[in-house]
Amino acid sequence: MSSGTLYDKVWDRHKVTTLPNGQDQLFVGLHLIHEVTSPQAFGMLRERDIEVARPDLTLATVDHIVPTADQSRPYSDDAAENMMSELEENVRDAGIEFLDPPSGEQGIVHVVGPEQGITQPGKTIVCGDSHTSTHGAFGALAFGIGTSQIRDVLATQTIAMEKQQVRKIQVDGELGEGVEAKDIILEIIRRLGTEGGVGYVYEYAGEAIENLDMEGRMSICNMSIEGGARAGYVNPDETTYEWMQETDFFREHPEKFEELKPYWESIRSDEDAEYDDVVHIDASELDPVVTWGTTPGQGIGIHDPIPAPEDLPEDKQDTARRAQEHMRVEPGESMEGYDVDVAFLGSCTNARLPDLRRAARIVEGRQVHDDVRAMVVPGSQRVQRQAEEEGLKDVFEAAGFDWRNAGCSMCLGMNEDQLEGDEACASSSNRNFVGRQGSKDGRTVLMNPRMVAAAAITGEVSDVRDLEEVQVA
């Protein structure tokens, strides 16, 4: 078993006791909730006549069903309106803070937590959403849970869990031009597989990780779950502390920053920490990665040939065959030149300010291809506001992108933003599952945000490095 890692330390600090079933009971430092997975949990509490234990450690926002165009109430979709009303009632009854659209702080739950300064190193963070692993970028132990576990957390502010193994993923070398955090994580999943991380927590380390800004680290931790690892984290460092210091919360409470920093430093993995497994990746070898199939593990470098199913391990062949049929791609070809109908720049993976800035440098002075509908969905109202102030909205709109309000949007097609028929989408999101973007015949190609921008312009999957970047004012 691992020892001396951040995971071990945070686990030990939060362990309440060992339960009779052998699981550990862990204290939860922050519980994030949203409209899709929490209403049933509140219902279960009502059935059992139990109150929310720690509303002060719980924060709500609305993201999955929120319309990104017309947000006037009641929402035109009755089901969405019903879910929103239910959440409003639940948080009001329990006294839980709700970052709703009128607050100006609403957004995708995994964008909002870090913005608010409540995602912090050394916290345990849970949410009824598998991409909760995102918060691990700050050195938090963060993972997605199901609705019955949400009930547990609401009722007790604790969760029952078994301790897992720790795999260190050492990413050395410098990223090349046009290659991003997203490409690192797609490569990790390609290499280790979509279930390679089951039973593990991933610690991302090494020069290439340390050089990333917090947003890049979030993109990586975000997709840990796509590799089967329920949680992933980066040890906190100066980059992390700078982020914390610049949040509204710590600006208003600088004494809290000084008070907590020693704790944050204490939970870093020790130099001589022991890991259950170590994997090495050389970042300098990477090209921008795109997916050719229907799992996030089916990725390749932009110029690499799509693999023949029979060349893959036996247990991957059947999935690959079905994926190639669905995507209508042939082994031996590369993804470059694959026609796209939609470009989606959004999601909890890649809709933060630096993502939009980089993409804007690609689209500036260019036009979205005639055959493409392109949209930008900022990760939060705060991102949206800052992007508008910087003029990014104007850049995107001038190029022909639709500029939307914050939400999960076309990442999972629970609002009106969906693929139609067999449309192909260049997407900065995290899942290319069949049907994920709202149409069961839809085809999703995952890539980094600059690559999405490039595809929007050319109308096909393209190497962004072939397009000259423009410096946006």
């Binding site: 309440v16 079933n21 999955h64 879910m83 704790y263 899942r431």
Partner: protein, 205 residues
Amino acid sequence: MSDPTEEIPEVDYVEGTGVPVRGNDIDTDQIIPARFMKVVTFDGLGEFAFFDLRFDDDDNEKDHTFNEERFQDANVMVVNANFGCGSSREHAPQALMRWGIDAIIGESFAEIFAGNCLALGIPTVTADHETINELQQWVDDNPDGKLEVDVAAETVRYGDESVSVSVDDAQRQALVEGIWDTTALMKANRNAIDETAGSLPYVDS
């Protein structure tokens, strides 16, 4: 308030008939597409299990074991590798449970999915690729054949066969002893919870 622990059944054994659902990496978006999650309860999700795999755009039935008459009474699902990957939605096991599934045997399960199943008292037991293939074939050939999942003994019996399966230790103990609903169990540790919270530098008491 009644003590909910009293109502939690022990799940040491599940018997019934099987239904094979073949394929690796069947994600929770396949098990229950997101558009069916625009609801505030889990009621009625059963009919939407595997919906897009079962029906085409015009609601015509596609080729899927969940559509086959001979499997309509099945309660033990036999699946392949990495079943339930992707989204953490408990709607997925809820839909399967409401369709009629009481236990799942597979090559491997995604972690959050297995945890969600445990919270509903549904065992997720594992066996190797060959064992699962043979079992799927047997279920296909014997849709009315009795299948027994012995969680406590970690065996599955069918026809004249008895095969070893694995059940995660904590899951086995929780199911066999009827302590898989953890709310009351954890709520009882109130003092210890407060003590842990009090020791954390970032928690205001």
